[in-house]
């Protein structure tokens, strides 16, 4: 039995990663999940967070926001609206993302307030996880 899955991380602008991964930790909208070989076929949307890939060469962290992941027994494809290797996320970049989320949260109309607020909260949590502060 194969113990690795084909992992692809693509954003609209480029393909970030394509490796044989042992496990992939995905920040799903309803909670984190780890996908390994022979996972049940699943499609989940993403929340802003850190995606961790464990493969033979080590562990890679990516910061993703929005999009979805398609998991099958032999492959994991993550289509993220925005995705960057963790090392490339600077405080300035994070501030920009945060400012956008804040603007969306304050501009949100009734009905989408919860969604925008959750995005913002997720964003802040993600910042804490990667060691960047979310102060204004």
């Amino acid at each position: 039995m194969a113990d690795t899955v084909q992992f692809d991380l693509v954003s609209p602008e480029r393909r970030l990663a394509s490796v044989q991964a042992r496990e992939v930790q995905i920040p799903g909208a309803d909670g984190d999940m780890t996908a390994m070989a022979d996972h049940a076929p699943t499609i989940t949307t993403l929340r802003p967070g850190v995606l961790r890939v464990v493969h033979a060469g080590g562990t890679d962290d990516y910061v993703v926001s929005g999009g979805f992941a398609e998991i099958t027994a032999a492959s994991v494809s993550v289509l993220a609206e925005q995705a960057l290797p963790k090392g490339e996320v600077t405080q300035a970049l994070f501030d920009g993302m945060l400012a956008e989320a804040r603007a969306a949260a304050s501009a949100a109309e009734a009905g989408s307030v919860d969604v925008a607020a959750k995005t913002l909260a997720d964003m802040l949590a993600m910042g804490e996880q990667i060691g960047l502060s979310g102060r204004v």
Binding site: S11, P12, R14, A29, D30, T45, G67, L79
Partner: protein, 289 residues
């Protein structure tokens, strides 16, 4: 007959024109490579996205609770045409062929008694359509500031379109752009984005678990789908523009070369004629003595 001096000036000016068109052609070639790369990079995302959307849409499309972006408003009266062209000219028939397609589309719709609204992306299309369809313009997105087309640009366009859809300004949205086939062939294309249409890939259907629910995912992804399609179209357009410019400039360079050859022949002949004339004058002057 133009004087020798005039001819010389003319040749010099055509020569410098040729230099300019040659330079533009080379710049376009370099930009084309970059644009093609960008389009290539974006392809995996678009393909995967559409595949997943197709399976989701076929599952949820039939139900009455399908999102409006997928099912439509139930009407077909107001059409929004999103016309995407270049910010700059000098690229052959690129801009005008997109505008022409949009115009014929708009004419057909109006003849059927429907309302047409036009959103332009890129200055050239706006100029081309302004005279006949200016009263239908609802908005314009200016991309001249963007050096490279990014997903952000597509999101900007998509946000505008979706905002209008939510406000009930139109029922059907179609994007117009040029599909890049090769350097010498770009095909103006119309593609309907709202209500969303996905080609059924017909691939073996896997039964997926959905987290959160299928409807929630669909509602989350449909707006992104609009941005994705706009992005893909923008990239195709960028590649097409450079391709069209490249072949247009190649033609111009060749024409300038031909013109220089012709002018040079005329120049040489008239120089010769002048010399002969002078000789005749001298000889007949000498004979008269």
């Amino acid at each position: 007959m133009a004087s020798l001096k005039d001819l010389k000036n003319r040749i010099a000016s055509v020569k410098s024109t040729r230099k300019i068109t040659k330079a533009m052609q080379m710049v376009a070639a370099a930009k084309l490579r970059r644009a093609q790369d960008a389009a290539e990079q974006a392809r995996p995302y678009t393909e995967r996205f559409n595949a997943v959307m197709a399976s989701l849409a076929s599952a949820a499309g039939g139900s009455a609770s399908a999102p409006r972006l997928l099912a439509g408003t139930g009407q077909d009266m107001v059409h929004l045409l999103v016309v995407m062209t270049a910010e700059r000219g000098l690229c052959g028939g690129f801009n005008s062929s997109i505008a022409k397609l949009a115009r014929s589309h708009a004419e057909t719709l109006v003849r059927q008694g429907k309302t047409v609204k036009i959103l332009t992306v890129g200055k050239k299309g706006r100029e081309a359509l302004k005279r006949d369809w200016g009263q239908c313009f609802v908005a314009h997105v200016d991309l001249s500031g963007a050096k490279r087309i990014g997903y952000v640009n597509a999101q900007e366009v998509a946000r505008d379109v979706l905002g209008r859809f939510d406000a009930g300004e139109f029922d059907v949205a179609t994007i117009f752009f040029s599909r890049f086939e090769s350097v010498i062939s770009q095909v103006p294309t119309a593609q309907q984005v709202i209500p969303a249409k996905f080609e059924d890939t017909g691939a073996a259907e896997t039964l997926y678990d959905y987290e959160p629910s299928e409807e929630a995912i669909l509602a989350d992804l449909l707006p992104r789908g609009v941005a994705t399609q706009v992005f893909a179209a923008l990239l195709e357009n960028a590649a097409s523009e450079q391709g069209a410019r490249m072949s247009a400039m190649d033609n111009a360079t060749r024409n300038a070369g031909d013109m220089i050859d012709r002018l040079t022949i005329v120049f040489n002949r008239s120089r010769q004629a002048k010399i002969t004339n002078e000789l005749i004058e001298i000889i007949s002057g000498a004979e008269a003595l």
